[in-house]
């Protein structure tokens, strides 16, 4: 299929249009409960954005990194300080600069990837997780010498207009996530993405073709950290509405890693699917606990069951479908299409028959 606009094919544009209609028109019209925005949709968008960051470094460039939450913390606290100390930047300006500050950390902590790989790199990148959190805790300046430990995030004001209702914040997150997702797709499908994947699949050959390992890896880490930084800022300002380093602990890094793997390594839409699954699954379990067992099961047991199921799913996906839920979705569509075409419905072409 030929791209007709930027790198997007007709199919992509239809998908994009469907997503936009759904998220801009249908969701705001039909969902009125605040709970859905404050507890599901906003964190979903923020975490999906961070997962795209994780995808870039892990799914596309093949560098096992574990420290997304550290970069998110860097972005969140950078945002707080920028709004506090450089108010002229404005919300959007601060968001971009926060991302850039996180990217600088990404470059710093991405450097070990030149020497170590695999599980050792994962351990090395953990440094970012602990160092950034430690730094914020240690130096009071980052928290504006607030002794309570939890700082309230400033209100979001864009071009003089406040964005404080859940719906307004949802739109802020949606706009940022949409733009950054499109940019990520452009990169992933263009020459930048090819360099990343070449380094992932066979670094020696990539180097022999003139792909610089240093530049490609560091670039992937920087872009990944930029995405995580922006996601962290949105996470703090739209979802948590407060800033505390504990919110960005290693558990969040693992959560993002799970989202990345379950969603499907090396896919952008997998980031959204994975994030939705990890966020919604506990909600579903709770609903089952409350409605089917009428609260007979203790909440702590439910959260343990959740961990067990996530762990099992990770193992199952790693063995049977390393490309994750995005691939399952793709297969489902594929088989539906071939069933439709074999049953003689006109206008549906089987992608298998075409070859």
């Amino acid at each position: 299929m030929k791209p007709i606009f930027m790198t997007y094919t007709k199919k992509d544009l239809i998908n994009l249009a469907v997503c936009m209609v759904l998220s801009v028109l249908i969701i705001p019209t039909f969902i009125k409960t605040e709970y859905w925005y404050t507890s599901i949709l906003i964190p979903w968008l923020c975490l999906a954005l961070a997962t795209i960051g994780q995808q870039i470094v892990m799914g596309y460039t093949g560098q096992l990194a574990l420290g997304a939450a550290g970069f998110m913390a860097a972005g969140a606290f950078a945002m707080f300080n920028l709004i506090l100390r450089v108010p002229d930047l404005g919300f959007v300006g601060s968001l971009i600069v926060s991302g850039l500050i996180a990217a600088a950390f990404g470059i710093l902590f991405g450097l070990p990837s030149l020497k170590v790989r695999g599980i050792y790199l994962m351990v090395a990148t953990l440094a970012s997780q602990f160092f950034i959190i430690w730094m914020i805790d240690k130096f009071g300046w980052f928290k504006n010498y607030d002794s309570s430990g939890i700082i309230t995030a400033q209100d979001i004001v864009i071009l003089g207009k406040p964005f404080t209702t859940p719906l307004a914040m949802y739109f802020v997150c949606l706009a940022v996530t949409t733009i950054l997702t499109l940019l990520a797709m452009n990169m992933a499908r263009g020459s930048t993405g090819r360099n990343w994947m070449a380094v992932r699949d066979m670094d020696i050959a990539a180097e022999s073709m003139g792909v610089s390992l240093l530049r490609t890896k560091v670039q992937a880490f920087a872009i990944s950290a930029f995405y995580c930084g922006v996601a962290g800022a949105l996470f703090a300002f739209c979802y948590l509405k407060s800033l505390e380093p504990v919110a960005f602990d290693i558990k969040l890094s693992f959560k993002i890693l799970f989202m990345c793997i379950l969603g499907g390594l090396g896919t952008i839409n997998g980031a959204f699917i994975g994030a939705a699954f990890i966020l919604l699954f506990p909600v579903l379990l709770n609903a089952i606990g409350n409605n089917v067992f009428h609260g007979a099961i203790d909440a702590t047991i439910i959260s343990s069951i959740e961990q067990v199921i996530f762990g099992l799913l990770m193992i199952i996906f790693m063995i049977y479908e390393p490309l994750g839920m995005a691939k399952l979705w793709e297969n489902l569509k594929q088989s539906m299409r071939s069933k439709l075409s074999s049953s003689g419905i006109k206008g549906v072409k089987s992608p298998i028959l075409k070859k």
């Binding site: 940019l183 020459s191 090819r194 066979m202 022999s208 003139g210």
Partner: protein, 264 residues
Amino acid sequence: MAYERKFKIGKPILEVNNISLAFGGVKAITDTSFNVLEHEVRAIIGPNGAGKSSMLNCINGIYKPQQGTVSFRGQVVPNITPNIMAQMGLSRTFQNLALFKRMSVLDNILVGRKLHTKTNFLEVALQLPKVKKEEKLNRERSEEIISFLEIEDIKDTPVGKLPYGLQKKVELGRALATDSSIILLDEPMAGMNVEEKRDMCRFILKVNDELGTTMVLIEHDMGVVMDISDRVVVLDYGKVIGDGTPDEIMANQKVIDAYLGVEH
């Protein structure tokens, strides 16, 4: 050869001077020198473990020899790395296939266009007009190579799913996409049947003939080597034991001994 070559064999493009390479105590290559002339097809042959692949890895900068230098177009290349050699116009294929397995055939070949891609990631993210123009040119060149190698029907297939012979073709395609002046082929025909070998020979000669690309190849099939190469260098135990035209090599007693063994 009877026919007139479009690109006449010229001056040395690549010179290997007194290279010695050892892994710990094991000497892979000892004080080896030979040259490659521009536009020629040069074969490196030798029994297993003779140091042929190590030689290519030294030329390409993957291994760092303890002694000796590599000159490109008369200039000694200091601090050889695969990247620097690629920039100077040297491309290669690998013995055990080093393709990007999860990427499609077209994408693999497009990676070969890396050095003809000047736009940075920001420009790519924003899809500026110059990115589109460059991408279009690179795609056109890649499609040309794909149709030249007669692999149009598999261009969207992930390389990892292809049979070995086709993967070898794709690897040649990726090397061609760099538009390099010299290509090193490490056993381009290993594991191929007669027909596939004939095809591969045809492609190698055609590239050499039409584009004037200098070809250095390692090959085990003597029939093929003697047929397509202009000059042959023979390595045994990391040393040059013969260097010359195919006819000279076939008459060389040392080479015959190395291949058939010597009576004691």
